[in-house]
């Protein structure tokens, strides 16, 4: 059983608050309950890897953190703020569209199918956030966008359109696009699942480097090697609940639960 966490103490210094704090998070689509009370905390600078069979609610949980889905029950805090609401006095106001947008701008997200904007060059994809959302000046933003593309190993692909890039290159552009917003938290939704096996390594290398810079990351993945090597915590989810979590070396090698064991037996 996950250890219950205490309520956030408002007096605690911000730096000591966890980046993500989920308590009994519930989410249903119609009658189908996808999340059945998720309890999780992700510390600042930590890398949390979410593993589990498909349909276990991993992606849904990730999307809830980024306001792409609304939770039906429980509490979800990101950086000390309740997701989807603004507290004033003893009332919770539902966030307006504009406020949701500014919250999303602080969280980077990388999708399984890249979702690059196909009508824009790699550089313009990376520039979209800074220029259109942050209204940053074009010149310095371009400089920084080029730096980011160089950092993911694509300095020579700046002017290419997404369909001129391989899957792995597209996913690295997508990571650069998310990083351009200078997020405090990065969410990865099965970032290598749509890639040819030989392209997976490049993307994982970029993610490993990113983890090395102290970025807080939540990674939904089937790459157990990455989870073991880079993850600070591994969380195994099944059927909408957290079955087991802890140190990757322990969870992946000596799982306590039968369900974790049978899952790992299939993927390892």
């Amino acid at each position: 059983m996950p250890e219950p966490t205490g309520p956030p103490e408002r007096g605690v210094r911000e730096a000591e608050l966890p980046m993500v704090d989920a308590r009994q998070v519930h989410k249903s689509y119609g009658r189908l309950e996808v999340l059945k009370g998720i309890d999780l905390t992700v510390g600042r600078g930590a890398v949390l890897c979410l593993i589990g069979p498909s349909g276990s609610g991993k992606s849904t949980f990730l999307r809830c953190i980024n306001h792409l889905e609304k939770i039906d029950g429980g509490e979800l805090f990101v950086d000390g703020d309740l997701v989807g609401y603004r507290q004033s006095g003893n009332r919770l106001h539902e966030l307006k569209d504009r406020e949701v947008c500014s919250k999303r701008a602080e969280i980077g997200m990388v999708f399984q199918r890249f979702n690059l904007f196909p009508h824009m060059s790699a550089l313009d994809n990376v520039l979209a956030g800074p220029v259109w959302v942050k209204k940053a000046p074009g010149g310095p933003s371009k400089e920084r966008a080029r730096e980011l593309l160089a950092r993911v190993g694509l300095a020579d692909k700046v002017d290419n359109y997404p369909n001129q890039l391989s899957g792995g290159q597209q996913q690295r552009v997508a990571i650069a696009r998310a990083l351009a917003m200078e997020p405090k938290l990065m969410l990865f939704d099965e970032p290598t699942s749509a890639l040819d096996p030989e392209l997976v390594g490049d993307v994982l290398d970029v993610m490993r480097d990113l983890a090395g810079t102290g970025m807080t990351m939540i990674v939904v993945t089937h790459e157990m090697g990455f989870a073991r090597e880079v993850g600070d915590t591994v969380v195994f989810m099944d059927a909408g609940v957290v079955v087991e979590q802890g140190d990757p070396r322990r969870v992946l090698t000596e799982p306590e639960h039968e369900r974790t064991r049978s899952f790992l037996a299939k993927v390892l």
């Binding site: 504009r98 199918r113 979702n115 979209a128 956030g129």
Partner: protein, 339 residues
């Protein structure tokens, strides 16, 4: 090594140690194609004959069957040219209003609000369900009959400006209203199809970097929807140019009405119908060229490399007078230089 043309038949079976390169290649024959070509050529010859060379005796006078002289003498008649201006004005205004209405209605139909999507549905149902000729005549007769005084102001409150319907150019206004309201309904469906053709992941990606709904629609969804929206919109514009001729029914002197007015006086009915047709053909041809270039522009990112335009191909054809087989002395090697 890259084989040049004529270097030998690929896939040829080598029997008895013979060099396949020395054998003669017999191309596949297409006898059906030759027969069809002969039939088409005869039909074309008949068409040219009847259009250009054929003569006829009408009322004791022997003249060309199609009277191209008469056609030519009215082609640039001032009243025809004035009619062309009206036709083009109607086309541009009706398409402009139609497109704006279409985008608005499409966004309304996709809205989460039942009232908005229902209103858009009702609009499309009504204007797509009644003939555009009826709508044009309805507005023409209806404006002064139903609303003799048009006022602008607070709904159910005081009005600031009141215009008498008689002071308007009723025929032109009715033409514009009838054509553009009808067009709005069709454009709405075209734009909606374009919007829903864009992958949902695009919206999510845009939202994930903090873009607002409006910005996502304008910067991400609509530019990609354009690839789906442009071809049918081109068809709609071409169709609109011709549909404007319906204003004949409300005596608005567009191109078609202008030619009809002339033939009502001189009874040269067929030549003047040809004058109108030639002008319609001229403008629809222009639009087809414009559509080609607009489609090319919005194809960015959907094809790896754009095919050359007809002009580019013509230029390449004119300035590349080279031997068909590459010469090792004058031509650069076909292999990549940095290989």
């Amino acid at each position: 090594m890259i084989a040049g043309p004529g270097a030998g038949p690929p896939g040829g079976r080598r029997d008895g140690g013979e060099d396949a390169g020395s054998l003669k290649i017999v191309p596949v024959r297409h006898p059906g194609r030759w027969v069809a070509s002969a039939v088409i050529l005869v039909l074309l010859a008949m068409l040219v004959d009847t259009l250009v060379f054929s003569h006829l005796t009408r009322g004791g006078v022997r003249e060309g069957r199609f009277q191209w002289g008469v056609v030519g003498s009215y082609l640039f008649d001032p009243s025809v040219l004035r009619g062309i201006v009206v036709t083009l004005e109607l086309t541009v205004i009706a398409m402009g209003v139609g497109i704006v209405l279409g985008v608005l209605l499409a966004v309304m139909r996709l809205s989460a609000s039942r009232l908005l999507s229902g209103t858009a549905w009702l609009y499309i149902w009504f204007f797509r369900g009644t003939p555009v000729l009826v709508q044009i005549i309805f507005w023409y007769e209806g404006i002064s009959y139903l609303y003799p005084h048009l006022s602008f102001g607070v709904p159910f409150g005081p009005s600031f400006v009141t215009v008498s319907a008689n002071s308007l150019d009723t025929a032109f206004v009715a033409g514009v209203l009838g054509l553009s309201f009808n067009e709005g309904a069709y454009m709405a469906e075209i734009v909606r199809a374009g919007i829903i053709s864009v992958d949902e992941g695009q919206t999510e990606a845009a939202q994930s970097i903090g873009m607002s709904r409006a910005a996502t629609l304008r910067r991400i969804v609509l530019p990609q929807a354009m690839r789906v929206i442009i071809p049918p919109t081109g068809n709609e514009t071409i169709s609109m140019l011709k549909t404007t001729s319906l204003v004949y029914a409300i005596a608005l002197t567009d191109l078609f009405t202008a030619t009809q007015n002339i033939s009502n006086r001189n009874y040269e009915v067929v030549p003047l119908l040809m004058v109108a047709s030639l002008w319609y053909l001229f403008f629809t041809s222009l639009m087809t060229v414009g559509q080609y270039y607009i489609e090319r522009y919005y194809a960015r990112g959907s094809t790896r490399s754009l095919p050359a335009t007809p002009f580019q191909r013509l230029r390449q054809g004119l300035f590349r007078i080279r031997p068909q087989t590459p010469s090792p002395l004058t031509d650069p090697p076909l292999a990549r230089p940095h290989a």
